[in-house]
Symmetry: C2
Subunit: 336 residues, 2 copies
């Protein structure tokens, strides 16, 4: 019934608690005979280490805290999976929190992780949390920002060049001969969104005959995309854009749903060419397979954890900044 402790194991094996602990943590320091006896005692008693006690003593937990903007977005689950696999290699776990683009929730998770004295934090930030992260750092908890390039900031980051991504997307749309472009995304407070838009603007800047309308939405979700799409459908045909760059694939899927809806009858790519961002699995399975800007999601997560591990080893090293390049994936939604 009651859990057994190292003391019970020691008693049973006829050794001291120190030896039991050594068997668990530094078996090379213990004689084979003792290891054997302790192992048997552990098995017989069904002893399981108490993590809380280990943590208390060690001062830090074996868990990495991760916060993402939206767990329902496959991009982030892929990211988390990459992080988890890398962490597992060092015997660490990942706790995944979902901020839902809500500063309140984001802060709550960071507080929680601080209470838990997590090993480190990997976060796709929404609000400006420099202050909180600084406090964590003072406590000895390093943080790595993901999906956000902040080459000047005090914290390490792993990101994809969203400016380049935005440029890629819009240049592709222009290469199709489209001239009345629109960007659908938001909230603009999200750095990634702002960067993608900025990249788009830069690409358009050198083409005086091309216009770029910005349609701001309040979340990067299928629902928000669908609502924006319904608005566009409601316009007279000549006021609609002839190509849309959506801030991510969920939004572009929502747009597509609105366009394909009975009675809407906006053809993609005929009337409107459509490109998204992230290249999630579902993008290729949409009504019209969606073009997208691919990010190496799992690799981003993996890299973030690698950096985190390095920072725990060497807390005073200057921040690392890794930037991956995105890749254009062309499918039916921008073809023909």
């Amino acid at each position: 019934m009651s859990a057994s402790s190292v003391r019970d194991v020691a008693l049973r094996a006829g050794v001291s608690v120190g030896t039991v602990s050594n068997v668990l943590n530094h078996p090379e320091k213990v004689s084979p005979a003792a290891v054997e006896r302790v192992q048997r005692a552990i098995d017989e008693l069904g002893f399981i280490r108490n993590d809380a006690a280990r943590q208390l003593r060690n001062g830090r937990s074996r868990t990495i805290g991760m916060v993402v903007l939206d767990v329902r977005n496959p991009f982030f689950t892929d990211l988390a999976r990459g992080a988890e696999d890398e962490a597992a290699g060092s015997g660490l776990t990942v706790t995944l929190g979902n901020s839902d683009e809500n500063p309140q929730r984001e802060a709550t998770y960071l507080d929680l992780f601080e209470q838990q004295r997590v090993y480190g934090v990997v976060i796709s930030a929404y609000a400006d949390i420099t202050e909180r992260l600084t406090r964590l750092k003072q406590r000895g908890i390093p943080a790595v920002l993901v999906d956000r390039s902040s080459p000047d900031g005090p914290f390490s980051s792993v990101a994809v060049d969203d400016l380049a991504g935005g440029r890629l997307a819009v240049e592709h749309l222009m290469s199709l001969g489209r001239r009345r472009l629109a960007f659908v995304g938001g909230p603009m407070g999200i750095r990634q969104v702002a960067d993608r838009l900025e990249g788009a603007r830069a690409a358009v800047a050198s083409h005086p005959d091309v216009s770029l309308e910005v349609i701001e939405i309040d979340a990067l979700s299928v629902l928000a995309g669908r609502a924006a799409g319904a608005d566009i459908v409601g316009r007279s045909p000549d006021e609609r854009p002839d190509a849309i760059f959506a801030a991510n694939d969920l939004v572009s899927m929502g747009l597509l749903q609105a366009f394909a809806m009975q009675g809407a009858g906006v053809s993609v790519p005929g009337q409107i060419a459509l490109i998204g961002y992230d290249d999630i699995d579902f993008a290729s399975a949409a009504v019209v397979p969606l073009s997208s800007i691919r990010q190496p999601s799992a690799l981003i997560g993996k890299t973030a954890v690698e950096i985190l591990l390095a920072e725990v080893e060497n807390p005073d090293a200057p921040p690392h900044h890794v930037v991956f390049q995105p890749e254009l994936v062309i499918r039916a939604s921008t073809r023909g």
Copy 2:
């Protein structure tokens, strides 16, 4: 730099550690003046409770461990979200683990949760883990099975009636006049898959003119669905089924991709009607919007946590078993 403890707070506030602890946990037992002084000291020192120490003393953590078959399946993220929201109401957190339909990973997570002395476990089981769960229970850690009806088992469960779901799906396909049905799903070791198939078989049983072919796949993923779809496309047209019931929406999306692929040219629902299971958001955004069997995913998660909380209060109560009824959602893939 170094974190401050209750001792530091007590010193600064000029009270004893007991009083500080009482302010944190039972403020009603402390005089307003003392509460005020302690609060100020906490703020000034930036004191943050050490969870490991609390846990060690309390014997159990404030985290619920959850294991699902596939985090990339929106059904499970919805489930997790429902659980998380309910848990938050009681000041609890949820750690989400992903077994990937892998008994090894599943076991690893359960071990980890046992080490962590989690508050309770919510699991969508893959392998037979009765033994492990029993051990957890002896340790005082209750478990609730989700997405699996086991009315006779020793553990509480929250599920959807998959037999009924299978029946619903197949009856719908038959009502369209289809006669050469196929079930695509697997591995059969997954109870939910087996139940859905059994429901399908039961529905077919009373229709001697209807056949049900079983196409077993090795994972419930888009990829596995696509592979199965390619096989079907490779058959001569008169050997193909005229309706398919897929074990979940990911599989049906994979099938659909294969059918819609250039050169495949299998029309849905013209040549093959297609219905999935779970009714994930993406199902309605597919090439052909997919019919499905809807499960109240968030509600399942929420209910599981409710039961868990009750079991911690009252460990000796007999297991609870909740079964929700699924719902048929008809879309273009089985229309016309």
